[in-house]
Symmetry: C2
Subunit: 705 residues, 2 copies
């Protein structure tokens, strides 16, 4: 708490600083220029796809019964194939373009048409087709890719089992080689090994890529993928195959998810997708990768693109939701505050700015971060830089950004829906449907919580590598030093220095937090300190029993996940920073700098107690951050519409009546009515007196039903 | 950060303290005893209703097309009337029981059957019927209540307008008195004045209570309510009335929401619900309340029960969601950690405990808080203690608890859904449907953000009353003193004292935070300090122009809302405290004390930066709180199932396959398979070796589709 006087002076000072920083530069957004930047590294392909998604026949129809919705989406899938948008990622040998980055960019755009279409397409081409492409070899490509691309053969990706969602290595389905008949026997040995949640499985799939434990000559060589026909053309299951329709879901009801079980189903030996492991006619097993562990992760790694595109489509869905809420918030009026007659536009309320503009900043960060992820993905999959290290970096990057972007999408869509009140709850305004469809983004293709543990483990590995050659004493001294720093100085040495400086001007000291390097140091420092702490605490694990190590690991699981999240936020902040620096137009860059600071300072505000406990910020400095963010939000408010317009959605993408301008029309009609009423003098007496008698906005209650 | 050694000693010490505090008391939950307590003050009525909600014909059918769903719910509504559950709140004169508290308790139970039924019933009896009851007089009751109770006349509650959701006082609909014909002319003067989001309006309502500006003799006397027939028995609109079907919504699709507009529709003078304002034959207006403002808020105040029951049904929905997720988390296994073969139960993971048990603590707090709110409501509506002050207290209490409980429900249901992974996304497992239906709880019957501003305003009023007789100098000195406290001592005087003590034992100093009075002081102190700060900053408002005052108010809107939320959390914490103290069984009380501390310490952890900045906690103490909560969670984990079983839901209420035990059955079947496989020696060689070769859990990736 600061007393009134000093707070007012703080606010004034903050404003002066922001003006100085602006150095007379007028802040104004060059919308087309910014739109080009936000369209990213594959702007042409993306915008071409965005043109396509204007087609009404690709749009979701809210309230359509799910049986009908499923057929509609299958039809849309075939249309996409006809339009040629399904071949982009596939090899030239089968008529593809081998454009991996562009393929995902184009694909993500389907989210504005119908997320079910994006996911059904993802199953058909990003999982089923991609498995044949990346796990199979030339003959497999020739045999199966053309029909996968054309959707002549709708396919399922049969990896997940009822008993094993995230833990793929432990799946129970077996593929036992029979040398006599040179066939693999695909079998579901118990109920929990039934394949579950598979898109296309309930109705449309006539084939499936099935993941199973490969057993030959009585030896289990681990999880491999097999191409297995499951239905005849007439839609009936082939012998030995049974299924189950998952029915209605929380969203994505245009996708027919279901289960598949196998009762000793035989497929030719050559149906093994044999790029990373093969079985000869005599049943002898061979693989280019000796370690079963590395082999497994190499195979799974080829499927990283799902995570990359989920991060992208999530960022896009959040952009759409914020476009709707900000546009409405700029037209919708509620309560007369300053005047007796004219009501306030929602976005002029401080709380409304807090709710939407902070999320807009997050959304920009995720958008820039996803573009860097997409570039990394394309570098690897194009083969330009495809070492083991590159692949590991890509997987860690995706494992960090996918949770960040997908959780943000749910949060932003929900806040947008609440910010639009009852209108936000109407399906025609898109927000509830988008949120329901995207809900599963946070748990499929890698449960966010599991992914963040992957990231944390990678950070711990890098950390211990740093100290590999140092004796443990050095490490201990290093960490103890960090602790001592606080033990003897309450909130830490650096703070003492700060405290003295802060007696000068809190605002001035805070303004340093707007310097890119200071923000970077604070965000990086937090990740490194958390990891160093965890590294220390996990050191004893090596000397413990397997159970003991597991218990120790579990006792810090929470902090591991938080450290990984801090790392992901740092990556997004860095990407945003580069995005701002690359902006050529000065006026636009000024606005982006403010938005970037709202994101950076917002991260520090979110983790403020950590910075205080660990002596990175003085209380004086910490308490001024919130006020600083509020001032930045006030400066950004006039540019909010430009910042969402720069996402570049056309009315055919937005399709929300409340963001179409009818709200403004209605308001004008009402205002005209009152003006004429009062002008004509026929207004009921007391009309104004009455309104005056009614107390301030916060008094007024509501009952919507 | 604490170094490893001191952290381990901290954890040990915390455990020792918890043991000492337990004083040898065995912690064990007497489930039936706890269930009785959680059923609350109207346990009998509630449990009777809960028996009724077992009926399959009252249950929601997921995926049912909305047209069909609407008719099903109308039928259910009539069944409830037939079963006699619709008359409980109404006067004995019309066959009612005048049991207001019991009525809401029974009503909230409908949430487990179908939230659409709860809301459609709320519209029919809690709004339409209640308006006739509370705003009308004896003749109105005789004329209209019986058909409202029996649903012979389905009714709409026409308050909200397209242009005015939360700001009811500014609605545009007019009711102009025509003395010649002794009729009111109900009119919608412009599009934005169209009544919107009205339950029953799209299809079923044959009458509506319409809120309009009452104008007689050219004078506007403000918003009043009128009984207006809108449809003939055959369902066609009466002359002058037009409507619009809102169609599909984000949830609650069993309710037919729609719009109503009036083109000079005439109703008899006596259709004015005239308890708080009447018009004589000659058109002269009279009211028992002179101030138009007070009159308005008195009328609106009679509708507070909607908020009370939304808080209750939200708490109940969260209880159901947590029951499903905790039960599944106790059966579902994922990843082998400590052993090569046996997988870990989800709820044994620290993160899973964090995700679910902390929310269970919040849910208990909200459940106890709602029961106190319900008692307060019954005290007022039964007339036992029904002064103006009582009504204001009730409204503030409801305005604080409704946002807390409804936001918590969305958060808990979402976390439960994510904690169940893909299975949580299947509609049959209830979580997504409950969340979608409850989504609108946070914005209707009082937008949560608007309600919290009401609370804040009340707190500010009380605060300034405290200083009314003090000269502003005294106030200034008081606040400056608080500020100085920090300005000269970094994190404040109290902390310096703490810091010294904390050099002894962090854990011991933290253990004080488990003392009820210490938690109370910290939570209360935060509310009071925030309000005192805001009171100071808003003082200049009185000297400013209306616009200036509005701008000043807006510049602190964010903090006002946070202060109100802090107040609501304190109220919930107090209710939880009383709930624990009232628990007779010692073993159960021990478990509840831990859960209560998880809630209390959780609130302090959530606002930790405030406590640090304002010198209420030393960094040493602050950094130990999280570790302390983790230890409490570990102690609560074995009792988690008992704590959800105590909600007392039967399988007919839960209805989620994943919480039915089939998961455990599947796991057993799988384990048996592997045991036999290995026993028989026919297991593929390398099966174990392979599993061992696979790295730790956090390595394993996933692809669910």
């Amino acid at each position: 708490m600061v007393d009134t006087a000093s707070r007012i002076s703080l606010e004034t000072e903050v404003d002066e600083q922001l003006d100085r920083a602006a150095g007379g530069r007028a802040a104004s957004v060059d919308v087309p220029a910014l739109a080009r930047v936000l369209a990213g590294s594959w702007a042409d392909v993306r915008l071409e796809a965005r043109e396509m998604t204007k087609r009404p026949e690709l749009h979701k129809v809210e309230g359509m019964p799910y049986a009908e919705h499923r057929e509609r989406v299958l039809g849309q899938l075939k249309l996409l194939a006809k339009l040629g948008s399904s071949k982009r990622a596939f090899p030239k040998s089968v008529g593809g373009l081998e454009d991996h980055g562009g393929n995902l960019a184009a694909f993500e755009e389907l989210i504005t048409a119908d997320p079910s279409l994006a996911i059904k397409g993802g199953v058909q081409w990003g999982l089923f087709g991609a498995a044949v492409l990346h796990l199979g070899t030339e003959p497999h490509h020739r045999a199966w890719l053309p029909d996968a691309i054309s959707v002549k053969v709708p396919g399922a990706f049969a990896m997940t089992e009822i008993g094993h969602g995230s833990d793929v290595a432990s799946i129970g389905t077996t593929a036992t080689y029979d040398p006599k008949r040179q066939e693999f026997v695909i079998h579901t040995p118990f109920t929990a090994a039934t394949k579950e949640f598979l898109g296309n499985a309930a109705l449309h799939a006539t084939a499936a890529v099935v993941f199973a434990q490969l057993i030959t000559k009585g030896v289990n060589h681990g999880v491999h993928a097999f191409y297995v026909p499951v239905r005849s053309a007439d839609g009936s299951f082939l012998p030995g195959i049974t299924g189950y329709d998952d029915g209605v879901k929380g969203g994505l009801n245009g996708v027919d998810n279901g289960r598949l079980a196998f009762d000793s189903v035989r497929v030719p030996r050559t149906n093994l997708l044999n790029k990373y492991g093969d079985v000869a006619e005599d049943g002898s097993y061979s693989s280019p990768i000796d370690s079963p562990g590395r082999r497994f992760f190499t195979m799974i790694g080829t499927l990283v693109q799902g995570r990359v595109s989920l991060a992208g489509s999530a960022a896009l869905a959040a952009s759409l939701g914020l476009t709707i809420a900000v546009t409405y918030g700029n037209q919708r009026r509620q309560f007369t505050a300053g005047s007796d007659t004219d009501e306030v536009v929602l976005l002029d309320y401080q709380r409304h700015q807090r709710r939407l503009i902070t999320r807009l900043a997050e959304n920009y960060a995720n958008t820039f971060a996803h573009d860097e992820l997409l570039q990394k993905f394309d570098d690897v999959f194009s083969g330009r830089s495809d070492t083991d290290a590159d692949r590991q970096d890509l997987e860690t990057f995706a494992a960090a950004i996918k949770p960040l972007a997908t959780w943000h999408a749910l949060d932003a869509l929900q806040e947008a829906r609440e910010a639009c009140g009852g209108a936000g709850f109407m399906a025609e305004n898109r927000l509830t449907g988008l949120r329901a469809d995207l809900d599963v983004w946070v748990t499929f293709e890698g449960d966010n919580t599991v992914l963040l543990q992957l990231v944390a483990k990678r950070l711990l590995t890098d950390y211990s590598a740093k100290f590999k050659n140092a004796d443990s004493g050095a490490l201990a001294r290093y960490v103890v030093g960090m602790a001592a720093d606080r033990a003897y100085h309450g909130t830490g040495l650096r703070t003492l220095a700060q405290t003295i400086r802060d007696f000068g001007s809190t605002a001035r000291s805070v303004s340093e937090l707007r310097e890119t390097n200071v923000q970077r140091e604070l965000l990086t420092d937090r990740v490194e300190t958390m990891i160093a702490d965890l590294g220390q605490r996990l050191r004893p694990a090596s000397k413990l029993s397997k159970q003991g190590a597991a218990d120790l690991f579990n006792s810090v699981q929470n902090e591991l996940i938080e450290a990984a999240r801090a790392h992901a936020e740092l990556l997004a902040w860095e990407a945003f920073t580069r995005g701002v620096e690359a902006m050529p137009d000065a006026g636009t860059r000024q606005v982006l700098e403010w938005l970037h600071d709202v994101y950076g300072l917002g991260l520090i505000e979110k983790h403020l107690s950590w910075y205080l406990i660990n002596g990175r910020l003085s209380p004086q400095r910490a308490q001024a951050i919130t006020a600083y963010i509020d001032r930045l939000l006030a400066r950004l408010r006039p540019h909010a519409q430009d910042l969402v317009d720069a996402f570049g959605f056309a009315p055919e993408h937005v399709r929300a009546p409340i963001a179409s301008g009818i709200e403004a029309e209605r308001q004008d009609e009402a205002r005209t009515y009152y003006r004429e009423l009062w002008a004509s003098g026929s207004a009921p007496a007391d009309e104004k007196a009455l309104r005056a008698a009614l107390e301030k906005p916060s008094d007024v209650e509501t009952a919507e039903e």
